[in-house]
Amino acid sequence: MAKIIVVTSGKGGVGKTTSAAAIATGLALRGNKTAVIDFDVGLRNLDLIMGCERRVVYDLVNVIQGEAGLSQALIRDKRVDNLHILPASQTRDKDALTLEGVEKVLETLAKDFDFILCDSPAGIERGAQLAMYFADEAIVVTNPEVSSVRDSDRILGLLASKTRRAERGEEPIKEHLLITRYNASRVDSGDMLNLEDIREILAIDLIGLIPESEAVLRASNQGIPVTHDANSDAGQAYNDTVARLLGEEVPLRFHEYQKKGLLSRMFGGGRR
């Protein structure tokens, strides 16, 4: 049986899709058969980040409405064999999704896959609730700013009440905190919330910290998940995150601000 993981945040633009793509890629690179589903019906993005937008024929809504089979809609990733993408529909809206339809898709995928990542839309409405409803684990993506933290807090409340595990009184969803766009120097100068403040407010385990990085923007514009850029700080941070998701103990990196020494200032720092 596959593990179903929802990548969610409440707030938009914090890096849900980037994270879903990067983590799915990381899981697949480590030999896990992984599917990543775009639940953002109407604002399809995952296919762009994964670089498969030109190969989309059928989508999640087609499958749910019986217009296409699941195997027809699943797109195999060009770079990693055991990674598959189920894109969202750009022309429909979130009302096209039904609870029964989503359940059926997830049940079918669960037979073949090790991990299913659900890339949630922003907000707390139907689309976001459907994306989280069947999840076993949740990755809550948060930026180091107050509005993002508050929205994540709201999402954590929904994860504890509006999901199948909660409604059935089963073991609660395992919640992980993923902090993205962390800029250690701006945290140091007080412009951004620091790691400890975020952890204290949200009170859940930290699964990863992704530094703000040029590599992320470059990766999404190229349609290559940043995990492939193993030399970049963000790529390494996502790899660490995936390792922790698989139960490995990996020390936290990129959270401390290192003032540049005289030498590195004269000769330029390393690549960021």
Partner: protein
């Protein structure tokens, strides 16, 4: 008085004190009826009956002779300790003294006695409003919430105190008929005494609350003295103003 007396040789000093005291206002002189009702109360809120001192008020009874000894025995059997009697005619005063109880004059001694004390009193309605029914802060309807109360969530204790073992985050709301106790940071809204209990209070380990309210009197974060932010405080009603004091 004691100005010229060596302090060490004093066995005691007299001090005037105002102690909170439960008054048990009797509307029946029948010990059996009192026993039945006490048994019911005991099962509802056992925590209240812990050798609690009470003053038996007999002002609403118009009987010159009371089975005071039997009434006291019934009270003691239910872990209420009668310490004094208030009101009643001279025979009542004498039997109180004989039983080792104090006697207080009736509360409305100056006022003419109204006719309603003669009229039969409806048994239930008045009793439910009595002090026994709602001892401040005790209540069996309390609630304990363990974990973080998150933005958008509301946790309510409609009948008693609310205890949150964890933080109350911004955008969350905690409400109680009694007091609100937060063993963590209070960042959201806390409303105590939602049915109007002016003795309800709010306690927290770390104050950042968006809104504090006791019995409908509220303060916004903006109105709170900035030096209290982040510290452990209690919030209670002082007249019609909310008073916030640090707990040290």
């Amino acid at each position: 008085m004691s100005l010229n007396v060596d302090r060490d040789s004093l066995a005691f000093t007299f001090k005037g004190g105002m102690l909170p005291m439960m008054v048990m206002e009797l509307t029946s002189a029948d010990p059996e009826q009192i026993r039945d009702q006490l048994a019911g109360k005991l099962s509802q809120s056992p925590a209240f009956f812990q050798h609690t001192p009470v003053v038996l008020s007999v002002e609403r009874l118009d009987e010159p002779h009371l089975a005071l000894e039997r009434i006291c025995a019934v009270c003691r059997a239910h872990k209420l300790l009668p310490v004094a009697v208030r009101g009643g005619a001279d025979p009542v005063k004498q039997s109180a003294w004989a039983l080792g109880l104090g006697w207080f004059p009736p509360l409305d001694a100056g006022r003419p006695r109204s006719l309603e004390s003669v009229a039969p009193v409806e048994p239930d309605a008045s009793i439910e409003e009595g002090p026994l029914a709602s001892p401040p802060g005790v209540g069996s309807g309390g609630r304990i919430f363990r974990g973080t109360v998150r933005s958008g969530q509301q946790v309510t204790a409609p009948e008693g105190d609310l205890v949150v073992v964890g933080a109350v985050n911004a955008g969350a709301e905690v409400l109680a008929a009694g007091s609100v106790h937060v063993y963590g940071a209070l960042r959201g809204r806390a409303l105590a005494g939602i049915h109007g209990d002016p003795l309800a209070s709010i306690f927290c380990r770390e104050l950042h609350a968006e809104l504090l309210s006791v019995a409908g009197n509220y303060k916004r974060l903006e109105d709170v003295d900035p030096c209290l932010l982040g510290s452990a405080v209690q919030v209670r009603l002082d007249g019609d103003q909310l008073g916030i004091t640090a707990l040290s």
